[in-house]
Symmetry: C2
Subunit: 219 residues, 2 copies
């Protein structure tokens, strides 16, 4: 199939292409891949050769449907493995990403199908991200960033945007987790910090924090 490197590029392009439906820039891709722009250009040409992306010089890359499909399958595997690690192997949500980055490249249809069954067909990974189904469909959850919600509202935490160990550990320390009820008491105008309450305890969080927590407003 595709090489480890190719798979990682496809995934990176997919993630970057999310918001705008236009081409992903070489520089953005270089940053995501932690490599140099020139290396990206090289790889893009190879991917283009294999019809995994469409590429016009200086205009960025877009995934072809073939490329998108490959990317989604890798993301499916990544997220299923993350569920496995947390639910079955006692990993915490800040420890899984690195290992899942490796496991997502294992090639075996049967493996991933059986893993899915074994985990009882989970819909979400430990960070609240949806798990694509076998056909590549991804459920779009109605979720908003906490910093966009007005004071007075009560919400449920349904995901995180930043999935870095640092951020996740901060959340653990402050009792913020998926499913937790977050009530917004105040929003400071000048720095957009918030006073929230979780488990009947008050907590002040910066915009940096509130803009990385996904919530669903609770009726």
């Amino acid at each position: 199939m595709y090489s480890l490197s190719e798979e990682n590029y496809l995934k990176a392009i997919f993630h970057l292409q999310k918001q705008p439906n236009q081409g992903v820039s070489t520089n953005a891709l270089a940053e995501q891949m932690e490599t140099k722009a020139s290396s990206v250009t090289d790889m893009i040409k190879r991917l283009s050769e294999k019809d995994l992306v469409s590429y016009k010089k200086y205009k960025g890359v877009k995934l072809s449907s073939k490329g998108r499909n490959a990317a989604v399958q890798i993301i499916r595997k990544h997220r299923l493995w993350e569920v496995f690690l947390v639910d079955q192997l006692n990993f915490s949500w800040d420890e899984v990403h690195e290992v899942a980055e490796q496991l997502e490249h294992i090639k075996s249809k049967k493996l991933i199908r059986e893993l899915d069954k074994f985990l009882d067909y989970p819909k979400m990974d430990p960070h609240g991200d949806p798990i694509p189904d076998e056909d590549g469909n991804i459920a779009v959850a109605e979720k908003l960033l906490l910093n966009e919600i007005n004071p007075g509202k009560t919400t449920v935490c349904v995901g995180v945007k930043d999935t870095s160990t640092h951020f996740l550990k901060y959340l653990d320390k402050n009792n913020i987790a998926l499913g937790k009820i977050i009530h917004i008491k105040e929003k400071e105008a000048f720095d957009e910090s918030m006073l929230i309450s979780i488990d009947h305890k008050e907590l002040r969080i910066s915009k940096m924090v509130s803009s990385n927590i996904y919530v669903k407003t609770k009726n």
Copy 2:
């Protein structure tokens, strides 16, 4: 740590070095790795550079203790994953090897420790091979090849030498599996074929078969 290729070479050397305690020949290694002798020589030099093997031109390679340790850890991972696939994910013993070949290269101490715990510290893989412990110790089972046993004896199947899909499927078809009681009724002198009984049913097997089944004599 080590590259995928390096790990596969280390494992191959380990397996070939088993019987004799002398160097593994370039050609033997080339065959095992399904590659060319010249490629082997190249790689051996790199492994030697990293003190993973000792190498004298024209005299073959031996694993250093560093190399042996690396090899054993990979084998530990391979066999633990095989147990996982069979016990938890409904794989049959002839399907696991290919996937385990990939999974054995995943790098995570915690993963393998938790997997071991999750599987309740298995001692054997689905083919009856011992799983090395965390320190690299490998239990030596008392086992003999079926073709070395005399007629009249009753034995238990404890392992297989050939782990190819073909052979394992043949065994499935004939109800031969780990733990099965095998009674030896006759041994034909001229072709060393055997008449055995399993589950009260008689079966004639060739030397090719009997010399790939490990058994333990039953009292």
